[in-house]
Symmetry: C2
Subunit: 464 residues, 2 copies
């Protein structure tokens, strides 16, 4: 079903694995069920670790933004005006100043940054927060991928100059690399075309991965703002010579779409396949017994559970057949299953079963901790490899647009750099421009629209 | 200053220690600065641990609640109607259904609970979430204590019957005990009088601590709902005999007021005094050197920092005098300071200084890890003892109201049980009724209002 009807499979697996409940009476605002929320918190933890070890400061800004603050940066409002929720009333009173629910926090943070930044010694200022944000989506909603309340990570930094801000962006790439590795997600970085950059940005880098449907999913973005916002919000610092300058700013955002990508990229017919680094349960132990040896087997399982205390382990002693337990835990994507039966107790071993490829093998009791660690590492590496293969197979250079049109994936093609030509190609392919790859690629070809010689390649795709 | 003007001291220390910034342009909505947010996250972590080890499920529900859902339980609306923020517009469109920002999540969760609970085997259902909630406060706001966006922990449970729900409430007391111990906060539990119980509750237990001003601060509450909400939201289960019954429900809430209590109860003239269990920095190492021995001393400090890797340690190598460093870290309430100078290096020892009582003593290098752990434990125990002493000194039985009137603390007095008499006493004392202590106290006396003999004692106090 995943192959034939990805959308249906995706919704079905989210419901059956207990990740999210979309029956909440506001469309596009879903309930994080315990298993889904654990998964999200594990991803948050990894993001936090990456930021904290680089001495980012975690903060938490108010959700509500006064209209006046919001309207200071003109491009920014244009980009979001249609999408914001407005609080206009409290109790029975109309509010003097309408407040909006943050779609993102530039306009909440930057008036405060103007107070916090005084001198060059306050820079770089590097903060992040993980909060709920809101966008009034008019397109069809989809759990984790297009929702109206979004679980959102956003880093915001201020720097003395453009170069230092550029260094920050390089560091974002490192954070992204480490996070994506734990999620076993390959991705491509492209500089978005001007007509699709973030509202108020000098340039925007999109972080895209590919779903099995061949459509790309943007899982994050990185923006260079230059002085666009600091001028609007008057964020200035005094330099060593006593001069006053506007700071240069950057942001980096990722959202619950990371969960959507993990589900879509790794899942299979049996359900979720979760990367060990974020799986709420990394190992499930299933005892297999008849009445006469129930105690022996369960005791052994308890012993193994204790041995594996450094992992997230579940021992499943429910009164169900082993088969139904396998079914459940496969649906939930637990990376490693350990089966222990009476014969295993006697032989002092256990049977390992990998969720990702179904591989089954015997492990001696004294090797069980070491092998569990090794197996989880192997699963992580193999999941990433498989996903990379998918991405590679869906990324193809085309010379003729006619042939590209029916390709379910990312089309590489030439672009002369003119907006007209870009939009024309988008229309002809019924695709969006992801942009030119951040890591420059050698290219010689012709603009797909006007035919002019060009050394610029762009990536185009159908997107979620 | 703490003694003479507690309010001023409180606001000042919050600002100077970098906990919160109240210059955000919406009154009562403050910015969590990095140090304050770390403190809050440490408290959240402890709450999570306590809930998770008891197999509560963490969830995350949407912030916005449709008007219709909100209005199902009549008492509940009455209690909150004046206090809710309304989202009425999105982009340029008026919403068909106005949405409110949760002041608490009963009305968001219970329509879903009605879908989740089917049979007795689904019970007990025990969930919690840690989220932002909103109340349009009309009283004067105060950081952490009375704010309009509130960082909030809320547990919600469903049970087969009243007894099982009562057991749940006993378990809440255990969670509270463990959390409060880490915060070194003593508290009293009282059953709130009917006119002050939570909107929709069968009964409410208030969790109050006392601030040095003599006013009590409610740091949480526990509610028995019985079937009040399940009837309104149609949350039913099928029992073993095939009968259909409404579930019994409880809730337990605590908020960022915990931070307010920690600041107020433990702080002193020099600033914050943080309990080791929640301090963002538990130990600060300050090197003391002259130019000629700078490297030796700093190397030693690095060594000690590594030895103390299981604690949250900061090594302060800023180019400042030791004195200004002491000042900073005392302001920030770091429980233990370790000073290391050239003489200490030679003698292979270090000087420990306790934040709570200023005690100073030498520790041999080989004992440093052990002693650090012991000292932090002692600080924790002593902070709690000191706070308990404060609470005890501020809790007094009065026979004559005239004498009670000027008491800055909790007044114990008799009550016949009639609402009129309770309200009359409140007025005469200019205090609020906290309620009768949950742990029954032997009492023989007269109702403070009507003079009738009674064995019921109530606690009254001025409250934040």
């Amino acid at each position: 079903m995943k192959e034939e009807n990805f959308s249906e499979w995706y919704n079905d697996v989210i419901e059956r694995a207990g990740l999210s409940d979309k029956r909440y009476p506001v469309k596009g605002m879903n309930v994080w069920r315990p298993y889904g929320w654990k998964l999200m918190l594990n991803i948050d933890r990894i993001i936090r670790e990456e930021c904290n070890k680089r001495n980012f400061d975690e903060v938490c800004f108010p959700l509500l933004i006064p209209e006046e603050q919001f309207k200071k940066e003109k491009e920014h409002i244009k980009g979001f005006d249609e999408q914001v929720y407005w609080v206009t009333k409290a109790g029975e009173n109309l509010l003097d100043v309408p407040l909006l629910l943050r779609p993102t926090s530039e306009t909440a943070m930057y008036p405060m940054f103007a107070l916090w930044v005084r001198s060059h010694s306050d820079l770089p200022l590097r903060t992040y927060q993980i909060v709920n944000t809101f966008r009034y989506e008019t397109k069809q909603t989809r759990p984790f991928v297009r929702v109206r309340e979004i679980h959102f990570f956003e880093a915001h930094t201020c720097h003395t100059d453009f170069e230092d801000a550029e260094h920050q962006i390089k560091e974002y790439y490192e954070i992204l690399k480490n996070v994506a590795e734990k999620l076993c997600l390959p991705y491509i970085l492209t500089k978005r075309p001007d007509w699709d950059k973030f509202a108020g940005a000098f340039y925007s880098v999109g972080i895209d991965t590919i779903m099995p449907s061949g459509k790309t999913l943007q899982i994050g973005s990185i923006h260079q703002y230059r002085e666009n916002f600091s001028k609007a919000y008057d964020i200035k610092y005094e330099d060593e010579k006593g001069g006053h300058n506007f700071v240069h700013q950057t942001t980096y955002g990722m959202s619950e779409r990371l969960v959507g990508a993990v589900i879509g990229v790794h899942g299979d017919e049996k359900g979720l396949v979760l990367p060990p680094g974020i799986a709420p349960v990394q190992i499930v132990i299933v005892p297999i017994f008849k009445k006469e040896n129930e105690k022996t087997v369960k005791d052994e399982c308890e012993k193994v559970k204790k041995m594996l205390k450094d992992f997230r382990v579940e021992l499943d002693c429910r009164e169900l057949t082993p088969g139904s337990k396998y079914y459940d835990w496969e649906l939930k994507g637990v990376p490693l299953r350990i089966e222990i039966g009476p014969r295993d107790v006697k032989k002092q071993c256990a049977v390992f079963v990998r969720r990702d490829n179904g591989e089954k093998f015997e492990v001696k009791m004294e090797k069980i901790v070491e092998e569990a660690g090794k197996t989880l590492k192997n699963i992580e590496a193999d999941l990433l490899k498989k996903a990379e293969k998918l991405l590679k197979s869906r990324l193809k250079k085309f010379e003729k647009l006619e042939e590209a049109k029916n390709f379910d994936g990312i089309v590489k093609t030439g672009w002369c750099g003119k907006e007209n030509c870009g939009l024309d190609t988008e229309e002809k392919l019924d695709m969006k421009t992801l942009g030119a790859p951040v890591e420059k690629e050698k290219f010689k070809g012709k603009c797909a629209s006007c035919g002019k010689d060009t050394d610029v390649v762009v990536y185009m795709a159908r997107t979620y």
